[in-house]
């Protein structure tokens, strides 16, 4: 009798272990290394939200289940490397996340040494895709932002532009590319580099007003920089036809927080505001995002969603083929070619997405209207137009 109880217990234990292992066999572990504190907390947090939404949407529709393990890299390159190594020790099959080219470079390097795919949208520096790593994949790049900014300025027939840009790596690189292209198109370009710590932009805007006398101001910076530049411009009122910026500018948050500064200002934007999602994927993203965070999705969430979805899909394909442990995720990412919320994504040999091209939106009456390219426009540009 004692023996049969023992045997019964053993069978139950084996059955439990078996069901536990079969349950977990389909759970695909994904590591997320992202800044949730420190100087990049806001952008990292936005991307993280998008990744979690992607996991939520993917788990509802796929037979495979994604389990996300997130580690805060505290906006520090050393901690980004430590985060990747820790995630690898926890058995993740790939890494996504990363913000800031200086954090992404060492983190993707560490992922490469560990044989893990690294997918990001947080760094646009060209050196990231010239390092020769076969595991690195990026859905956006400087060229896509430059195409949009220069495209809009070209349509406006800009003859003279003053570029005001932050001395950070990504912004300097984009500003240089914009300057090169505009100069090649015959425009007169004056550049004004600024330190990220600057708070008073009046001396720079005054130089544009009195010395450059340009028709357009192009801003390449971040939210705090845009607020400073636009405030200085509102005070000094330079004689310009339009003010154009890039990321973090044509957003619902900027429209709501700075209603006096934003009217008629242009910035990169994939979505109009209020957001309109036409595709099924877009609607699924929007519904899940609003359910999880009770707010309108922003561009950071959108990029995070796209990068994570592409990774999850590649992992699922690799799992189906039984190649997860044999570089299968990297192989499947290399085969990726599909339309996403940010347009077509197909990774080149260097891991970059050559099809990335942004759109330009304009703040109009508290809304964001897509005005460039024409085929994606949701309204007409109010031109010439400045916030004052």
């Amino acid at each position: 009798m004692k023996n049969s109880y023992k045997n019964l217990g053993l069978v139950a234990l084996i059955a439990c272990a078996g069901s536990w292992s079969s349950l977990h066999a389909e759970e695909l572990l994904v590591g997320v290394e992202v800044p949730l504190t420190g100087t990049l907390a806001r952008v990292g947090g936005g991307m993280h939200e998008g990744i979690l939404v992607a996991a939520e949407v993917f788990n509802k529709t796929s037979k495979h289940k994604i389990k996300v393990i997130s580690i805060d890299d505290e906006s520090s390159p050393a901690k980004a490397v430590a985060a990747v190594e820790k995630l690898a020790s926890q058995g993740v099959l790939a890494i996504t996340g990363g913000y800031g080219s200086n954090n992404i470079a060492p983190a993707s390097d560490a992922a490469s040494k560990l044989g893990l795919a690294y997918v990001t949208s947080g760094g646009v520096d060209d050196s990231l895709v010239s390092s020769g790593h076969k595991n690195f994949f990026r859905i956006n790049n400087t060229a896509g932002y430059q195409k949009a900014m220069v495209g809009l300025l070209g349509d406006m027939k800009a003859k003279s532009v003053s570029i005001v840009y932050s001395s950070k790596e990504a912004t300097s690189s984009l500003a240089r590319e914009v300057q090169k292209t505009l100069t090649a198109q015959g425009a007169t370009v004056a550049s004004h580099e600024f330190d990220p710590a600057i708070t008073d932009f009046k001396p720079i805007i005054n130089k544009i007003k009195l010395q450059d006398k340009s028709e357009f101001i192009a801003m390449v910076g971040y939210e705090n920089d845009y607020v400073g530049i636009l405030r200085a411009a509102r005070v000094l009122k330079p004689n310009v036809k339009a003010i154009v910026g890039v990321w973090s500018l044509a957003t619902s948050k900027m429209a709501a927080d700075f209603p006096d500064l934003m009217p008629n200002v242009y910035g990169t934007a994939f979505l109009p505001y209020p957001a309109e999602f036409k595709s099924a994927d877009g609607k699924a993203f929007n519904d899940a995002y609003q359910k999880l965070y009770q707010k309108e999705p922003d561009y950071l969430g959108q990029f995070g969603y796209v990068q994570a979805t592409l990774l999850f899909e590649a992992m699922a394909r690799s799992a189906d083929k039984g190649t997860l442990k044999k570089n299968g995720v990297i192989d499947e990412l290399n085969k990726t070619d599909r339309q996403t919320l940010i347009g077509r994504v197909k990774f080149g040999a260097n891991g970059d997405n050559p099809f990335f091209s942004h759109r330009m939106g304009q703040h109009q009456n508290g809304k964001v209207v897509i005005v460039w390219p024409k085929e994606e426009a949701t309204g007409k540009a109010s031109f010439p137009g400045v916030p004052w």
């Binding site: 907390a41 947090g45 720079i204 509102r234």
Partner: protein
């Protein structure tokens, strides 16, 4: 070119006024207790975030947030003092480590409560142009420049003329001798921290009204305040004003005549030059008044 330089001088003076307001609290505590409060920038930031909450939540002017911000910031400042006052040995160096840690805690508290988004006032009046002939500024810059000068005058008067002010200076000069004269050093030092909290409140509300705030900005404010405090000469209130104005003007002229990318380099160069020529700072030691 003249127009550019005049505007740069004007912008530099206003910027210097805001730097002085930020540095004043740090200078007071440094001067009286020889404690470098590395959490001072975070106290300023805390006041700025309270102003943001009042403006965005209630739709009130940031100026009306001052009483609430003062209560919270002064209470936090008192907590910093209580932590520092427990240090028995090597207070100067140990308080550095302690206040640095408190600063990190405050930054994360701000991040937890207000998230990582950047904020600034949406008040039209604060952002509107104030034009004085060839000089341009925002209304908020002029308003808080005036507040900065008034507070500096008030603090200088308080230290020079009031009983508590004299007690603070006495404790600062010789703690034991002050004790023999019937002054309680602990309560005097506590008063210094409360006054530093009041000054940080005004600096924070000012910062929210003309600048942009984010949780990681506290460290930048502390460094700027520390540079000005040392430049001024330890404990000198007029020195803080002169040092801050000098720094503001030097930075604005650098942006106008060269590049903004060089402004920190020029600021630090000026700092090192002054310390090389006058090791006690502009108003240090013999010429100290405050």
């Amino acid at each position: 070119m003249t127009e550019l330089i005049l505007q740069a001088l004007y912008s530099g003076l206003l910027q210097g006024g805001s730097y002085a307001l930020i540095a004043l609290g740090l200078a007071l505590v440094f001067g009286t207790m020889k404690v470098i409060n590395l959490a001072h920038g975070e106290l300023v930031l805390l006041a700025a975030y309270i102003a943001y909450s009042v403006e965005s939540g209630l739709g009130w002017s940031p100026l009306l947030a001052i009483p609430l911000a003062m209560l919270v910031v002064c209470s936090t400042s008192v907590m910093v003092y209580l932590a520092v006052s427990r240090i028995q040995k090597d207070r100067e160096i140990n308080s550095l480590i302690l206040t640095y840690g408190l600063g990190v805690m405050l930054t994360n508290l701000i991040l937890l409560v207000w998230k990582a988004d950047v904020h600034s006032t949406s008040s039209s009046w604060m952002q509107d142009a104030f034009v004085l002939g060839p000089f341009f500024s925002m209304n908020s810059e002029i308003l808080f420049f005036g507040v900065s000068v008034l507070l500096m005058g008030g603090l200088w008067w308080w230290l020079a003329r009031s009983w508590y002010g004299r007690a603070v200076r006495a404790v600062s000069s010789n703690r034991d001798a002050a004790k023999l004269m019937g002054i309680n050093p602990r309560s005097t030092e506590l008063v210094s921290f409360v006054v530093a909290g009041i000054l940080a409140t005004f600096a924070g509300v000012a910062l929210f009204s003309y600048g942009v705030i984010s949780p990681s900005y506290g460290g930048v404010l502390t460094i700027k305040a520390f540079v000005i405090t040392v430049l001024a000469g330890i404990g000198s209130i007029p020195g803080v004003l002169v040092g801050a104005l000098l720094l503001g003007v030097a930075e604005a002229l650098t942006v106008t005549l060269a590049s903004s990318a060089l402004q920190d380099l020029v600021g630090m160069g000026l700092f090192l030059l002054v310390l090389f020529v006058m090791p006690n700072g502009l108003f240090g030691a013999k010429r100290r008044r405050g």
